[in-house]
């Protein structure tokens, strides 16, 4: 296990270098444009002299590698420059928005599990019967609906027509935890969970069917072990192992997907921050968003791999050989 952890950490190094290089390089290519954006945001008439002066001030006239290492140093120390638009510290702004996104991701994952696991198992147990077909059709429909359409439909039904839930999810005028507490989180969570649960229900169904086909289940049945017990004791375990992998992979979709959902529900997280920054061409902010999202994603995947390793003896033994 120790060997494995060390090896995984070493493998991470080139990936992290690649991520930072790519994130930085992308904004570097937008370089000249960025300066114009700053000046325009400040309401200054843009002249070549001003552009050159600003480029010098921001250190954009230095060679690529010098800029990259300066930026990398800043990334590690949490100094990622100031926003071109608000003039505030990029890293502080980013971290202040992160809890809202993490909370939304967490509730969505939770809702997904609560929806998908029972439905997937039910569909498998009732294979090729009405319940199964019904669940499969539902998951298929959920898979074909874009999340922004789901979000707008949910708003239309539950916020506008029924008036049960607020249209705008964050509490306007409040900051921090207060801004994101309350019933506002239900609709964005539902939006994200519907898409994910649709995907997982099918996977869970397939896993359970496969598991039920295995000889040990036949053996248990022959010994008279109740079906209920087979399901909860044995089958659920394999579903859990699969869930870890799936969830780790979908954290990526979630982190990206929140951009749209957060924008629609005015949820004050990093996704909305990113979309706003892109509209305003606030390059340091976009850079921070891209690089930190990737680092979070890689970290989550690492944890999932280790968990997987721990949960599934077959992987563990295979890896140690």
């Amino acid at each position: 296990m120790k060997h494995y952890i060390v090896r995984r950490l070493v493998q991470l190094i080139p990936i992290l270098i690649g991520i930072t290089l790519l994130s930085f390089g992308m904004m570097y290519l937008a370089g000249g444009d960025a300066v114009t954006a700053v000046l325009e945001n400040q309401g200054v008439a843009v002249t070549q002299e001003l552009i050159d002066a600003k480029r010098h001030e921001l250190g954009l006239d230095q060679p690529f590698l010098v800029q990259y290492f300066n930026w990398l140093g800043g990334l590690i120390t949490g100094d990622m420059g100031t926003s071109y638009v608000s003039g505030k510290d990029v890293f502080t702004t980013f971290t202040s928005k992160l809890p809202a996104t993490i909370l939304l991701t967490f509730t969505s994952v939770l809702a997904t599990i609560v929806i998908a696991v029972p439905l997937g198992i039910l569909a498998a147990v009732k294979q090729n019967r009405f319940t199964d077909y019904f669940i499969r059709v539902l998951s298929f429909v959920g898979n074909s609906l874009p999340n922004f359409f789901v979000a707008l439909l949910l708003i239309f039904v539950f916020a506008i027509n029924l008036g049960w839930l607020p249209v705008i999810s964050a509490n306007i005028g409040k900051t921090g935890i207060e801004a994101i507490s309350g019933p506002g989180i239900i609709l964005p969570t539902a939006t994200l969970a519907i898409a994910m649960a649709s995907k997982y229900t099918r996977q869970i169904r397939a896993t359970v069917l496969d598991e039920l086909d295995k000889p040990y289940v036949a053996g248990a049945r022959a010994r008279g072990v109740p079906e209920q017990r087979i399901l909860t004791k044995s089958v659920l375990k394999s579903v859990m192992i699969m869930l870890v992998t799936l969830l780790a992979l979908s954290i990526g979709d979630l982190l990206g997907g929140t951009a749209i959902v957060e924008t629609i529900f005015q949820w004050d997280g990093v996704g909305k921050l990113a979309v706003d920054s892109i509209t305003m061409r606030d390059y340091p902010m976009i850079q921070a968003y891209v690089v930190w999202m990737a680092i979070i994603y890689v970290a989550v995947n690492l944890i999932a791999d280790l968990l997987y390793h721990y949960l599934d003896p077959r992987v563990r033994l295979g890896g140690e050989e």
Partner: protein
């Protein structure tokens, strides 16, 4: 998607084992025929959707760009099937017109990533060595960016426009194809028929284009077909955020985003383009799923007299599973090499 492939490999559906469970050949034949019927039906539906896009200018009952303010925000009626928007433009015509940008861009995008990804993958699998390592590590880096995050940033740097949105999504989507193609190429390289072809005097180009590509095309094609629906939604999502098609161009995602403020007063302006996306995505998803069922190697194992080229290809090698699972399980993959 990576997970999907992995899981389906790990968890073959029950039907695939039906041969061992005493299901008769006749029943299998019925099932296969049913899949074939489904395939034809969904292919026809997909062609219909395509036809709407191709003949959009002819099919529009009204000019999708002509404004008529006296006729603004009409609910759906016999005259305006999907109602009108705030400028009095006929929504039904705009939806038909919008199919062009949505469907053509999606198809272009999927074709682009499939071709580029396959080319890179085949080169990696064929050459191996340093180039392979460099390209595969590069693809690892791209895979390390979560979902739309990187595409958002690229679209942000490039600026709005459908072309830029397509490029942004292409930049993050090619590695999947590269990995699958590489795994398949590696497996094909050791097949005796390739040695025979080489002995018969085939050049490298001939070996790749005449022998390897036709043999690895199947799984890649299935992946591409399954990707169409997803890509269509992601492109629409970028347009919805204002990073894809720009108004006044008729595009489903941007139409919905345009009319967001009308959700309460004129919900049809949002629901009708939404339904259009839903139908298009669903048709291509159904087609993709059916093609996968049709070509699934495990399916074929128990289906005697299956489809020609797939039978020649034998079993999909285990290497594919490893490849599909993405950077998630690199460790093991590397060990095996």
């Amino acid at each position: 998607m990576m997970a999907t492939a992995k899981m389906s490999q790990r968890a073959p559906s029950r039907s695939s084992k039906s041969g061992e469970d005493g299901v008769t050949v006749r029943e299998q034949k019925v099932k296969r025929d049913f899949t074939r019927v489904k395939l034809i039906v969904f292919a026809v539906l997909a062609l219909l959707v395509l036809a709407v896009a191709v003949f959009a200018p002819v099919l529009c009952p009204y000019d999708p760009y002509i404004q008529n303010l006296s006729n603004a925000l009409q609910p759906p009626s016999a005259e305006h099937l999907a109602g009108t928007d705030r400028y009095g433009r006929d929504l039904f015509s705009r939806i038909i017109m919008g199919s062009q940008s949505s469907i053509f861009s999606t198809l272009a995008l999927v074709a682009m990533i499939a071709v580029i990804g396959t080319a890179i993958g085949v080169v990696c699998g064929w050459k191996t060595g340093k180039l392979d390592v460099v390209l595969m590590r590069t693809s690892d880096v791209f895979l390390a960016f979560p979902g739309l995050v990187f595409a958002l940033a690229i679209a942000g740097v490039l600026g709005g426009g459908m072309m830029n949105a397509v490029l942004a999504l292409a930049a993050i989507s090619w590695p999947k194809y590269a990995r699958i193609a590489r795994g398949l190429t590696l497996a094909q390289k050791n097949e005796p028929y390739l040695a025979a072809a080489r002995l018969a005097g085939c050049s490298t180009a001939q070996l790749i284009f005449r022998h390897i590509l036709p043999n690895i095309a199947g799984p890649l094609l299935v992946t591409a077909m399954l990707d169409i629906g997803t890509m269509m939604m992601e492109l629409a999502g970028l347009s919805f955020l204002g990073l894809g098609a720009q108004p006044p161009v008729a595009e489903w995602g941007s139409m919905m985003s345009d009319n967001r403020s009308l959700l309460q007063t004129a919900p049809w302006t949002i629901v009708s383009p939404g339904i259009a996306i839903f139908i298009a995505v669903m048709v291509f998803n159904l087609l993709g799923d059916t093609i996968r069922d049709f070509m699934d190697p495990q399916h074929r194992k128990t289906a005697p007299g299956g489809q020609g080229w797939l039978r020649k290809r034998k079993e999909t090698p285990d290497g594919e599973v490893q490849e599909l699972s993405g950077f998630h399980e690199q460790g093991k993959e590397r060990e095996e090499e």
